[in-house]
Amino acid sequence: MKARFCLFILFVVTLLLSTTALGHKVNLFAYVEAGKVYTESYFPDGRPVEGGKVLVYDSQDNLLLEGMTDKEGLFSFAAPKIDDLTIVLEATMGHKNSFKLKKADLEAGK
């Protein structure tokens, strides 16, 4: 019984940690062009994530800025610094995902 419970806990932890697709998984994709970071937030079928909160962290986990996705699921901002950025999307009902934008991508998109 104990082993079974441990397995269950492990399963729940795995689900919490993993980014595998769930029913209404949200996604955020980001790219850099002319010093500007563009983000797109969408459901797997392409519907935009509207009014999702976007949080941008640097490599030291400092929150640099935050914003909101528009009707098309878009949010863009001037590159705050050349660093490895983690862009977190928080949608309604606890749906969350993040995207790592590498320092090299920011360098290349200056």
Binding site: A21, F29, P44, G46, K100
Partner: protein, 268 residues
């Protein structure tokens, strides 16, 4: 991973093939280095375009294709000029044959359907030319959009099952189109790619009918097959072209195939 294929298996396979294969199915292939690109994966795909007997690993000479490209977000982009010629052979072949390879950088989310229209291949044994219009789909960054859209080839398979993220045992269903219309009651040949990247156990078919599985499309051009093993599976729907090609002044028939490749993964 080729080094992992046991020599014994290959020898056994070759013997079985030599003894049992009156019919050998040719398949056009496009095999990408990954079929699901996530943000932590390499964004540069390697693609290998071959004309082979997938179960037996046999290569055939492939001249430069007529068309090769990718459809992404309803945009068709030719990648023909990026193709590089490479030589390869199966462990049982003494001679090497040409196949084609390229690298493609995934830049945007969504489905990427790679397609090839080869130059007609003359098959003296069957007294006909073979043209296999071949496709494979690579998904990127969680956006599952585009896989069910036709490329617009003379004949092609439109997946009715999302063609990635498939478990071993899943039923793959597709619709065969010929000139854009469903192709009823045509044969679909199915083979396992013994040379799958990462494949450590070569399948040795006990007799000839096991090499190529055959199903037929229904009245709506729809077929299904459940894949029993981890690895790449090829589906090839065959029709006869309404046009002919000339060889030494004589008109010859042309077999056109709609080929689609999907990857199945064990549930563990």
């Amino acid at each position: 991973m080729r080094g992992d294929i046991s020599i014994l298996s290959v020898v056994a396979l070759t013997v079985v093939m030599a003894v049992t294969s009156p019919v050998v199915a040719h398949f056009g292939t496009i095999i990408p280095s990954d079929d699901i690109v996530s943000q932590d994966d390499a964004k540069t795909l390697n693609l290998q375009i071959k004309f082979i007997h997938p179960m037996e690993l046999h290569y055939m000479e492939m001249v430069k294709p007529k068309q090769f490209g990718v459809v992404h977000d309803a945009q068709k982009i030719s990648l023909l000029n990026t193709l590089q010629a490479v030589k390869g052979k199966s462990p049982s072949q003494t001679e090497s044959f040409t196949f084609w390879t390229t690298e493609y950088q995934i830049r945007r989310p969504g489905d990427h359907t790679f397609y090839v229209e080869p130059t007609p291949y003359w098959e003296p044994a069957e007294d006909l030319f073979i043209v296999h219009y071949t496709k494979v789909c690579v998904n990127a960054f969680g956006l599952e959009k585009g896989w069910d859209e036709p490329v617009g080839l003379e004949t092609e398979i439109i997946p009715l099952t999302r063609p990635y993220g498939l478990w071993t045992g899943n039923l793959f269903t597709g619709q065969v189109l010929l000139k854009g219309k469903p192709a009823p009651f045509v044969e679909v040949e199915i083979e396992y790619l013994n040379e799958s990247p990462g494949n450590i156990s070569v399948v040795v078919p006990p007799s000839a009918p096991y090499v190529t599985q055959v199903v037929k499309t229904d009245a709506n051009g729809v077929f299904s097959y459940a894949m029993p093993k981890d690895g790449w599976w090829g589906f090839s729907a065959l029709s006869e072209a309404t046009w002919k090609l000339k060889l030494d002044g004589k008109e010859k028939g042309v077999e056109i195939g709609a080929v689609y490749w999907v990857h199945a993964r064990d549930m563990k």
